[in-house]
Amino acid sequence: MTPAQLAISVLVLPLASAAVIALFLRRSGGLASLVSVLAATGIAGGALLLAFGGKDARFTAASEWLRFGDFAISIGFKFDDLAALMLSIVGVVGLCVHVFSLGYMHGDASRGRYFGGLSIFMFSMLGIVFADNLFMLFIFWELVGFSSWLLINHYMDKQSAADASKKAFIVNRVGDFGFLLGILWCQAQFGTTNLDALAKLVEGGAVAATAIPLLLFCGAVGKSAQLPLHVWLPDAMEGPTPVSALIHAATMVAAGIYMLCRINVLMVPDALSVIMWVGTFTAVYAALCAITQSDIKKVLAYSTLSQLGYMVAAFGLGSVSSTHMHGDTPHTVLLEAGVGAAMFHLTTHAFFKALMFLGSGSVIHACHHEQDIFKMGGLAKKLPITFFTFTIGVLAIIGMPLLAGFFSKDAILFLSYVVDKRVFVLLAFTAILTAFYMVRMWKIVFLGLPRSENAHHAHEGGLALTAPLVVLALLSVVGGYEWFYEKVLRGAFEGVLELVPHAHDTDHTVILATSLAVLLIGALSAFALYRPSPTDTLAEKAPGLFGALVALKGAFDRSYDYYVAKMQQRFAMLLNFLEQILLAGVIIRGLAGIVGLFGLGARALHVGNANAYTYWFLFGVAALWAAAAGVLIF
C-alpha cells in the first residue's frame, strides 16, 4: 500500500465506523463500542506506520472535489513531519481514550451514540491533520465543532449539557466567522489556499495583508479557547470525562495551534505580536481562574486554557536567529522557534493533560460521579494506580525536572526570555500559579481522609481504566527527552523538533533557575496553605482575594449573558415586532383591502369548493389555448 492509500484508509476508517454504528448498531452498545475501538486501533496503527515510514512516507496528494469556472476546491493530503507528529498524537491519545471509554461508559444506555460520536470526531480531526489547503481545513474544522457539540450534549436530558453544547458550537462559530473571512481574503489575494503554493508565493516575495493572519487567528481563538472566546471550554466539561480528555484537552483544542503552525508562512510581525499577547493573557487569566475551582474537571479545564495560552504565546513569539559555528565561520539561521516550541509543548501537554483528565475520570468513576474535590480526599490509598499516574501528570505540568513538561515549558520560557522580557515575566508568573493550583487540587483530592461516603467506598476500576493511564504516564515521562525522539522514534519528527529553541550558557542557567524557583514557590505555598478539608482554605483565610478571583472568572460570562439576553435578544424582538406590525399589519392589510374591493366582483365564482376551482381552472386553460391557437374566433 502506498502512503497515500494508507492515509486515505486511516481517514475513511472512522467515518465507516460511524456510519455502521449510526445505521445498524444504535441499540447494540456493546458491538458499537467494539467497532469504534477497533477503528481507533486501526487509526493508531496506520498513524504510526505513516509517521515512522521514513522520508518516503512524506507525501502530498490532491484530487479535485468541486470546480466552478477557474475556481476549484481539492481534497488533498500534505503529510510532512508536522502532520506526522500531530497524527501520532491523535492516534495514540485517541486509542487510549477509546479504551478508557470501554470501562468508563460501560453502563451507559446510549453507548452507541457515544462511540459513533467518537468515531465522527476521529474522522474530523484526522481531516484537519491531513488537510493541504485552507478550505479543506475549514471543512474538517467545522466537523470537529459538530462532533464536539454531539459529545458535550451526550447527557442530553440535562439542561446544563444542552446549554453547554450549544454555547460551544456558537462561540466557535463566532471565531469561524473571522476564520472564514481570512480564508476568503487569502483566496482573493493569492488566488489559492494550498499551503505549499502559499509558501512558494511568500518565498517569491508576496506578503500577506496583516488582516489575513489575524482573521485566520480568530479561528484559533475560538477552537483553542483563547480570550475572549474562552468561555465555552469550562462549560464543555458537561460532556463525559473521556471526551474532555480527548477533545477538550489533547487534540481538538490544540488544533488551533496546529493550524497556526500550518499557516506560519503567512505570518507578519504585527499579527505575531497580537497573537503573542492574546496567548500570554489567556495563560495568566485562566491560571488565576483555576485557583478557585472546586470541580475537579473545571480545574483541569482552566489549566488547559492556560496551557493553550502558553502554546499560542510561544507561537506568537515567532522566529529567533541563532548562530552556529560552521567550521570556523559563524552561520546565522532564522529558526522558526515559535512553531517548534508551540508544537513541542502541544505534544507533551497532550500526554500529561489527557493523563490527568482520564485520571480524573477514574476518580469520578470510583466516586460515583462525584466531581467536587472537597467531597473527595484520601484517594491515594483507595486508588493507587490512579494516584501514582495522576501524580506524574501533576509533576509534568508543573515542570518538575526530568518529566516531559519541564523541557517543553523551558523551551517556551527561554524563547520569551530572548524575545520579550515582559512576556517572560508573565509566563513565569503563570508557572507559579500552575504549580499552585495543581498541587492544591492534588492534595485535596488524594491526601487526608475520605470526606464523603462515595470517597470512602472508592476502588480502582478495571484494566480498561488503568491501562491507558499507565501508557500516558509513561509518555508524560519520556515525551520530553531528545533521545526519545532521536533514538526510539528515529528522528521521525525532526522537521518540527529541530525548531525547538535551546538555551545555552548563561541563558541556560537563568532559565533553569527561574523554572526551579517558580516551581518551588508555587508548589510549596499551595502545599503549606491547603489542608485536606471540606472547605476552601483560601476562601477562609483571604475571602477578599478569593472573591476577586471568582468575580474575575465570572466577568466574561456575565457580560456575554448581558449581551445575549439584554441586547441581541431585545434587538431581535424589536425587529420582529416591527415586522409584524408595520409590514404584516399596516402595509399588507392596506393592500389587501384594495385588492379585496376588486375581489368583490369575482366573489360570485368563489364557491369554496376545491373541485369547482379546479374545473374553473381547467376551463380557463382550455379557453386560453383555444383563443391563442385560433380555434376560437371572437
Partner: protein
C-alpha cells in the same frame, strides 16, 4: 447513453397530471392511492435517469433530452420544447426527489379528503417537473402557475392556524409577483423581435442583436422584483413565514422546497443570459437588500420566533438571501453556488417541514417554549431533525455547505464588505438552529410536555415518516460528500454564459 423508448421528460410531467385528471373524474379512492405511488415514483425515476445519463447524452446548445411538441400555437412562437441543461437538470432532480418524499408522506398522512389532497399535490408535481423541463419561456411560466394554484387551495382548505388569511395573503403576493415577472417576460418577447419564446432561439437572437442597455435594465428590474416576490426577497417576504406556517406539510415541502426556486431559476436561466446589462445595473441594490434585509434582519427575526414552523419559514427566507447574493455576484462561481444552494435548501427545508409535522403529532404544539426533552423518547426523530438543522446551518458534509461557501467566495470579488456581513449570517443561523433543536429535544421536558407524554406516550418515527426523511437526508449527504455530481453539469452550463458576461 439513455436508451428509453419514450421521452423521460414528457412522461414525468404527464403521469402525475394524468392521474390527477383521473381522480378528478372520479377514480375510486383505493385506486387513487395505489396509483399515486406510481405517479410520484415515475418522476423520481425519470429524474434520476436523466441525472445518471446526463453527461453521456448528445447535447444541442447545452441541452440534453431535447424534444419539441407542436401545440397549435406556433403562430406566436410557442411550442412545448422540453430539454435539460446543466442548470435545469439539478432542479429537475430536486423536484423528483422532493416530490416523491412529499407524495409518500401525503399518501400516508391520513389527511381529510385524501383524494382531492393527492389530486392537488399531483398537479403540483406535474407542474414542477414541467417548470424545469421547459425550454420554452411560455411553458416555463405556464407550468409554474399550474403548480402554484394548488398551493392556494391547499392552504385554504387543509391549512392550520390563520388559514384563510394566509391563503389570501399568499394569493395576493404570489399572483402579484407572477404578474410582474410576466410583464417582464412579455416585454422580452416583444422587444427581442425574435417572435419566439424558445429560450435557445432567444439566446442566439439576443447574442447577435442585444437589446438597448436601458431596456435590458428595465426588463431585468421587472424580473428581479417579480421573481423576487416569489422567492421572498426582503421586504416582499412576509407571505412566506405566514404561508408556510399555515400550509399542510406536503404542500409546504413542495412549495418551500421546489416551487419557490422558480424565481431564482428564472433569473438564472432567462435573466442572466438574455439581459447581461440588467444584472450590472441591479447587482448592488439587489445585494444590499439581500444582505441587510434577508440575511441580517430576517436572521435576527428568526431568532425571536417562538413557533417552530414560523422559525423554519423565516430561516428559509434568510437562506434565500444567500441565493440573491450569489446572483448579484454574477460569476460562474456565484451562480453555480446558487444552483447548488437551491438544490440543497430544497432538500433540507422539505426535510425540516416534514419533521416539524412529525414533532407536532407527538407534542400537539408548534410552540417551542412548550416542548423539551423529546430526544430521549424519540431518538430517531431527534437524529433526523438535528441532521436537517445542521444541514440548513451549513455544516460541511451536507449539500448546503457547498452552496454557501461558493457564494461567499464569489461574493468577495463583488464586495468584501457585503461578504463580511453575509458571513455574519452563519453565526445567526447557528444561534436559531441550535436553539430550536435544543428547545424541542434536549434538556428536561416542560410540564406541559410531560403531561402530553403521559397521556399520549410519543412513539418514534414510523416507517411512513422515516422513508421520505431518509430519502431527503441521503440526498443531502450524497451531494455534500460528492458535490461534483452536481457541480460538473452546472459548471459546463455556466461557463460560456459567464464568459459572455465578462467579455461584455
Amino acid at each position: 447513453m439513455s436508451q428509453l423508448p419514450f421521452d423521460p421528460l414528457l412522461i414525468s410531467i404527464a403521469i402525475p397530471l394524468a392521474l390527477a385528471l383521473l381522480i378528478a373524474f372520479g377514480l375510486p379512492k383505493r385506486w387513487s392511492i395505489r396509483l399515486a405511488y406510481v405517479a410520484f415514483a415515475v418522476p423520481l425515476l425519470m429524474a434520476l435517469h436523466t441525472w445518471w445519463h446526463f453527461s453521456a447524452q448528445p447535447q444541442t446548445a447545452g441541452y440534453a433530452f431535447l424534444t419539441n411538441y407542436t401545440t397549435g400555437l406556433q403562430g406566436i412562437g410557442i411550442s412545448l420544447k422540453l430539454g435539460l441543461n446543466g442548470i435545469s437538470m439539478p432542479l429537475f432532480v430536486l423536484a423528483g426527489i422532493v416530490g416523491f418524499a412529499a407524495g409518500l408522506y401525503a399518501i400516508r398522512s391520513q389527511a381529510e379528503r385524501l383524494k382531492i389532497y393527492l389530486m392537488l399535490l399531483l398537479i403540483m408535481q406535474g407542474g414542477l417537473m414541467g417548470v424545469f423541463a421547459s425550454v420554452d419561456v411560455f411553458f416555463l411560466y405556464f407550468f409554474h402557475e399550474l403548480a402554484l394554484i394548488p398551493t392556494f387551495i391547499m392552504v385554504g382548505i387543509w391549512g392550520g392556524r390563520d388559514r384563510s388569511y394566509a391563503a389570501m395573503k399568499l394569493t395576493i403576493y404570489l399572483t402579484a409577483g407572477a404578474m410582474i415577472s410576466l410583464v417582464g417576460l412579455i416585454a422580452l418577447y416583444v422587444k427581442s423581435g425574435a417572435n419566439t419564446f424558445d429560450l435557445i432561439a432567444l439566446k442566439a437572437h439576443l447574442a447577435a442583436n442585444p437589446l438597448p442597455v436601458t431596456l435590458q435594465e428595465n426588463i431585468f428590474g421587472l424580473l428581479v422584483f417579480g421573481f423576487g416576490i416569489l422567492v421572498s426577497l426582503w421586504p416582499l417576504h412576509t407571505w412566506a413565514p405566514l404561508g408556510y406556517g399555515a400550509a399542510p406539510s406536503s404542500n409546504a415541502m413542495l412549495h418551500a422546497g421546489v416551487l419557490k426556486k422558480f424565481g431564482l431559476y428564472g433569473l438564472i436561466q432567462v435573466g442572466l443570459p438574455l439581459l447581461p446589462a440588467g444584472l450590472t445595473h441591479w447587482a448592488h441594490p439587489l445585494a444590499w437588500l439581500a444582505v441587510v434585509g434577508n440575511v441580517l434582519i430576517v436572521g435576527l427575526i428568526t431568532i425571536a420566533q417562538r413557533d417552530l414552523k414560523q422559525m423554519l419559514g423565516y430561516s428559509s427566507v434568510m437562506h434565500m438571501g444567500y441565493a440573491f447574493l450569489g446572483i448579484a455576484a454574477g460569476s460562474t462561481l456565484g451562480v453555480g453556488g446558487v444552483v447548488l444552494m437551491m438544490v440543497a435548501h430544497g432538500l433540507s427545508v422539505a426535510l425540516l417541514f416534514l419533521l416539524a409535522t412529525s414533532i407536532y403529532q407527538r407534542t400537539q404544539t408548534f410552540a417551542l417554549d412548550e416542548m423539551g426533552g423529546l430526544a430521549s423518547k424519540t431518538p430517531v426523530l431527534a437524529a433526523f431533525f438535528v441532521s436537517g438543522t445542521f444541514a440548513s446551518i451549513g455544516l460541511p458534509g451536507f449539500a448546503n455547505f457547498w452552496g454557501e461557501l461558493t457564494i461567499f467566495i464569489a461574493l468577495w470579488k463583488f464586495s468584501p464588505l457585503i461578504t463580511a456581513l453575509a458571513v455574519a449570517g452563519v453565526v445567526i443561523s447557528a444561534v436559531y438552529g441550535l436553539r430550536a433543536a435544543a428547545r424541542v429535544f434536549f434538556g428536561p421536558a416542560t410540564e406541559r410536555m410531560a403531561d402530553v407524554a403521559t397521556r399520549n406516550p410519543p412513539t418514534d418515527l414510523a416507517w411512513s415518516e422515516k422513508i421520505p426523511a431518509l430519502i431527503l437526508l441521503f440526498s443531502l449527504l450524497f451531494v455534500g460528500f460528492w458535490p461534483k455530481s452536481m457541480s460538473e453539469p452546472i459548471n459546463a452550463a455556466l461557463t460560456p454564459a459567464a464568459a459572455a458576461v465578462v467579455a461584455k
